[in-house]
C-alpha cells in the first residue's frame, strides 16, 4: 500500500527496541503509584479496617496474642456487656494439661495458632467476606504458616464447591439440608459468625431510623407503595416529614443470604399480600419478586446503587451498611418494638438461639424488646472425614480460633460476637473431625 511506503522510510529497527523499554518503565512506575495511592485511599475497605482498628486498639493487640486472658480482656469498648460475656467462657484460662500438638492433640484456644503450615482455600457467602478477610489476616499474623484464600462468590457456590470437594471449606448463610453430604462423605456445619441484614435507604432530608413493619416493606418490594409519603409509611412515622420522592426498591440479582432473611421476615410478618404473590410461603435465596424495582449484583452492587440513587431502599449485610454509613430503617420485631440494626440488637437475636443446630437455624423475627428481627448465623462447611490429616488439623484449629479469639475482629466490623452456647456448639462440631481411618483428630 502506498502509505506504508511513504511513512515507513524514517523508522529503523532501533526505534522499536527503545520504545517498549521506556513504556515498560512508565507502566511499572504508574502501577506502583496506583498501588500506593489505593493503599492510602480513604474509601478502600483496607483503610476502613485500619480506621476501625485504630479506634479499637485493644482488640487488635488482643487478637495478636494467643492467650485467652487477652481475648476476654480485649473486647472493644463499643460493645455491650452481652458481647463481653459471650467471649470464650467455655475455655479455661489455664494451659491444658497436654502440650499443644501440631498434629492434633487438644483443641483449645491456647493451641489454635500452633498448626502445621498450609495453604487453605475456601469459597462461599459474600456477606461474611469482610469478617473472613480480617479474621484470616489476623490469624496469619499469629500463625505465619497458614494462608487462607477465600472466594466470596456466593453461598450456593460455596455449597456446591464443597460438595464437589474442589475447596477445603465452604461457607453458607443457609446451612445445607441435613443430612449434609458431598463427594467426600458427611459435611460438618460450624456456625462461625452472627450477622444482620440492614434495610438501608437513601432519602435526603430524612434521618436514620425510619419505622417500617412487615406489610409496608412488603408493599415497597411488591410495588404497591410507590412514593415515600405514602399513607402506610406516614402512619408509622407521624412526626417525620416525608418527601414525595418515588420509591426505588433494590434487590439482589443473584442468590443471597440477606434476601433469604428478608423473605423469611416478610413471610412471617408481611401478610397475605406477600405470601399470595410470587414469593409464596417458603423463603428462597433467589429474590422472588423480580418484576419490581432494580436488581444489582452482590452486597457491593446494592450498596453502590443505594448510595447513588435518591429514594432507593434495599437490603445489605449490616457490615457493608456500617462501612458505607447508610441510614437504616427501624424494623418491627415480634414483640412490637422498632429496632435499628446494631450489634446489641443482632446479639439479642443471636441469644434467642437456644437449640441452635444445622436443622434449626432460623433466628429471624425473634421476640424481645431490643431484638433486631433480621439476623442470621453464617455456617462453615468442612468434611468430617479429612483425607489429608494435616488439612483437618489446620481447619479445626483455624475455625476454633475464628469462633473464639477471632470474634473480636467480628465486633470491629459490625458483626456480633457469637453467644457462649453457639461457641460451645462450634467447638463440639469441630471435635467430630476425623482422619481418613475414622480416628478423631482432636482429643478434647
Amino acid at each position: 500500500m502506498v502509505e506504508h511506503g511513504a511513512k515507513g522510510a524514517g523508522r529503523g529497527p532501533g526505534d522499536h527496541g527503545r520504545r517498549p523499554r521506556r513504556t515498560g518503565l512508565a507502566l511499572t512506575a504508574a502501577t506502583a503509584l496506583a498501588l500506593a495511592a489505593s493503599a492510602c485511599g480513604s474509601s478502600s475497605p483496607t483503610a476502613a479496617r485500619h480506621h476501625t482498628a485504630s479506634t479499637t486498639t485493644t482488640a487488635a493487640t488482643g487478637a495478636a496474642s494467643t492467650t485467652t486472658t487477652a481475648a476476654t480482656g480485649a473486647a472493644p469498648a463499643s460493645t455491650t456487656t452481652v458481647a463481653k460475656a459471650s467471649a470464650p467462657a467455655s475455655h479455661s484460662t489455664t494451659p491444658p494439661s497436654a502440650a499443644c500438638s501440631t498434629s492434633g492433640g487438644p483443641l483449645s484456644a491456647a493451641c489454635d495458632t500452633k498448626s502445621p503450615s498450609l495453604q487453605v482455600t475456601g469459597a462461599g457467602a459474600n456477606s461474611i467476606q469482610p469478617f473472613f478477610t480480617r479474621a484470616f489476616y489476623f490469624y496469619n499474623q499469629a500463625d505465619h504458616g497458614v494462608n487462607v484464600n477465600y472466594s466470596p462468590a456466593g453461598s450456593s457456590v460455596g455449597v456446591s464447591d464443597i460438595q464437589q470437594n474442589t475447596v477445603n471449606f465452604g461457607d453458607s448463610e443457609i446451612p445445607i439440608k441435613t443430612p449434609a453430604t458431598g463427594t467426600g462423605g458427611a459435611i460438618l456445619q460450624v456456625p462461625v459468625d452472627l450477622g444482620g441484614v440492614a434495610l438501608s435507604y437513601n432519602l435526603p432530608g430524612v434521618s436514620g431510623g425510619l419505622k417500617l413493619d412487615g406489610p409496608t416493606v412488603a408493599g415497597i418490594f411488591l410495588g404497591t407503595i410507590k412514593a415515600w409519603n405514602d399513607q402506610a409509611i406516614k402512619a408509622l412515622n407521624p412526626g417525620v416529614s416525608l418527601p414525595s420522592t418515588a420509591v426505588v426498591a433494590v434487590h439482589r440479582a443473584d442468590s443471597s443470604g440477606p434476601g433469604y432473611d428478608l423473605d423469611q421476615y416478610l413471610i412471617d410478618t408481611g401478610g397475605s399480600a406477600w405470601t399470595s404473590s410470587a414469593a409464596g410461603t417458603t423463603p428462597s435465596t433467589k429474590w422472588p419478586v423480580a418484576s419490581v424495582g432494580v436488581g444489582q449484583q452482590l452486597n457491593t452492587g446494592v450498596a453502590n446503587y443505594i448510595q447513588q440513587t435518591p429514594g432507593a431502599i434495599g437490603y445489605v449485610e449490616y457490615a457493608y451498611s456500617l462501612q458505607a454509613g447508610f441510614t437504616n430503617a427501624a424494623l418491627k420485631n415480634k414483640s412490637g418494638g422498632f429496632v435499628t440494626p446494631s450489634q446489641s440488637g443482632i446479639a439479642a437475636a443471636g441469644a434467642q438461639a437456644a437449640g441452635l443446630s444445622a436443622s434449626n437455624f432460623n433466628i429471624v423475627n425473634g421476640p424481645g424488646s431490643g431484638t433486631y428481627p433480621l439476623a442470621n448465623f453464617s455456617w462453615t462447611l468442612i468434611y468430617q472425614k479429612q483425607a489429608n490429616a494435616t488439612l483437618g488439623v489446620v481447619l479445626g484449629k483455624l475455625f476454633d480460633w475464628v469462633t473464639t479469639t477471632g470474634q473480636n475482629q467480628a465486633a470491629a466490623l459490625g458483626y456480633s460476637p457469637l453467644p457462649a452456647n453457639v461457641v460451645a456448639l462450634a467447638h463440639q462440631t469441630l471435635l467430630q473431625l476425623q482422619n481418613a481411618a475414622g480416628k478423631a483428630l482432636f482429643s478434647s
Binding site: A278, G280, P288, A290, V292, G293, G295, Q297, Q308
Partner: protein, 330 residues
C-alpha cells in the same frame, strides 16, 4: 505388507478396474501420503466434533427442564423462584431490544467513522484514530460494565433519561421512572462495545473498494460525500454487512456488562427507560448459584435459547442479504 502411515501410495496394478480405482485414488492423494490426508481429516473432524459436542451436551443438560416445563419454557413470562421457572420470553425480548438499540446507535456512527477514517482523514490522524478504536475493543467487558455502572448510570438517571421523557412524540417508547439502569443504558453500553467491530471491518471493506471506482465518481462531478455514498459504500457492501452481522452476534451474547447496567427486572415492558433483563444477564446472574437439578438444567436451557437465537439471527441475516444481492444482480 507393513501398514505404516508414512508409506507412499503404491503404484496401480495392471488390472483395468483396479487400475481405474488406483488412478482415481492417486489423483486425490496428495504429496506426503496418508499422514497428510489423515491429519487433514483429523483437523476438520476435531473442529466439527467440538462444535457438535458443545451443542449436544448443552441440549442434553437442558432436556430435564424442557421436559419438566414443556415447550412453554421457551416463551414463558412468569418467574417463579421456588419452582425454578425462568421467564425466558422476557429475556428473549430484552435481548432483541437491547441489540436493536445497540445497532441503531453503533451502525450509523460506525459507518460514518469508517468512512471518515478511510476517505477523509489525513494520514497523520487516521492511524492513531484506528489504534484508539481498536483499543476500545481490547477493553474487557467487565471494565466497560463497571464504567457503565459507576459513571454512566448517574448521568443517565439525572440527565439523559429525563431528556427523553420530555420529548412528547416519543412518549410510548420513553415513559416511566428514570432509574438509571435500563434497556436504553444497556443498549448504549453494548453500542460502545460493538463500535470497534463495525468501524474496523467497515473501514477495511471501504479501503478495499477499487480506486478506479472512486476516481470515476469524482470524474462525473461527485463531491466527496457523494463519492462515499455512491461509490464506496455500495462497493463495500458485503464487508459492511459482515461487520453488522458480527456486531449483532457480539451484542446478543454479551453477559456481564449488560448484567451490571440493565437493572435485572424480569417483566415485559415497552419502555426503553425501564429496567429489564436479557438472556446473557440472566445466565450470568443465575448460573453460578443454580441448585443442581431442574434449576441448573433451566439455566442451561437459557444458554441453548441464546445459542439458537444467535444462530437464527446470523443465518437469517445472511440469507436475507444473499437474497437481496441476488435480486439486485442484473
Amino acid at each position: 505388507m507393513s501398514s505404516s502411515l508414512l508409506e507412499e501410495v503404491p503404484p496401480p496394478r495392471l488390472d483395468p478396474v483396479r487400475g481405474v480405482r488406483e488412478a482415481l485414488r492417486r489423483r486425490h492423494a496428495r504429496p506426503g501420503g496418508r499422514l497428510y490426508a489423515t491429519l487433514r481429516w483429523a483437523g476438520a473432524g476435531v473442529f466439527a466434533a467440538l462444535v457438535l459436542g458443545l451443542v449436544i451436551s448443552l441440549v442434553w443438560s437442558s432436556s430435564d427442564a424442557v421436559r419438566h416445563f414443556g415447550p412453554g419454557f421457551f416463551w414463558s413470562g412468569t418467574y417463579d423462584a421456588a419452582k425454578d421457572e425462568y421467564p425466558t420470553g422476557v429475556f428473549i425480548v430484552g435481548t432483541l431490544v437491547t441489540t436493536a438499540v445497540a445497532l441503531v446507535l453503533a451502525v450509523p456512527v460506525g459507518l460514518c467513522a469508517a468512512a471518515f477514517l478511510s476517505e477523509l482523514a489525513p494520514r497523520w490522524l487516521a492511524a492513531p484514530l484506528s489504534v484508539a478504536v481498536d483499543l476500545i475493543a481490547a477493553v474487557p467487558s467487565i471494565v466497560v460494565g463497571l464504567w457503565g455502572l459507576l459513571v454512566l448510570t448517574p448521568v443517565f438517571r439525572d440527565h439523559v433519561e429525563p431528556f427523553f421523557k420530555s420529548v412528547p412524540v416519543l412518549e410510548w417508547l420513553f415513559h416511566g421512572q428514570a432509574l438509571g439502569p435500563s434497556m436504553l443504558l444497556a443498549g448504549v453500553v453494548l453500542a460502545v462495545m460493538i463500535l470497534p467491530t463495525v468501524v474496523a471491518l467497515s473501514r477495511t471493506a471501504m479501503r478495499g473498494v477499487a480506486v478506479a471506482d472512486r476516481e470515476a465518481a469524482r470524474a462525473l462531478g461527485a463531491t466527496r460525500w457523494q463519492v462515499v455514498r455512491t461509490a464506496v459504500v455500495p462497493g463495500a457492501r458485503t464487508g459492511i454487512e459482515a461487520a453488522v452481522i458480527l456486531a449483532t452476534g457480539r451484542a446478543m451474547g454479551e453477559t456481564i456488562a449488560v448484567a451490571m447496567v440493565i437493572g435485572n427486572n424480569y417483566s415485559f415492558t415497552h419502555s426503553l427507560l425501564a429496567p429489564g433483563a436479557t438472556l446473557g444477564s440472566a445466565i450470568i446472574n443465575n448460573f453460578a448459584e443454580a441448585s443442581p437439578g431442574i434449576d441448573r438444567s433451566a439455566v442451561i436451557g437459557l444458554v441453548v435459547t441464546l445459542l439458537v437465537i444467535t444462530a437464527l439471527v446470523n443465518v437469517g441475516g445472511q440469507l436475507l442479504l444473499r437474497a437481496r444481492a441476488r435480486a439486485e444482480r442484473p
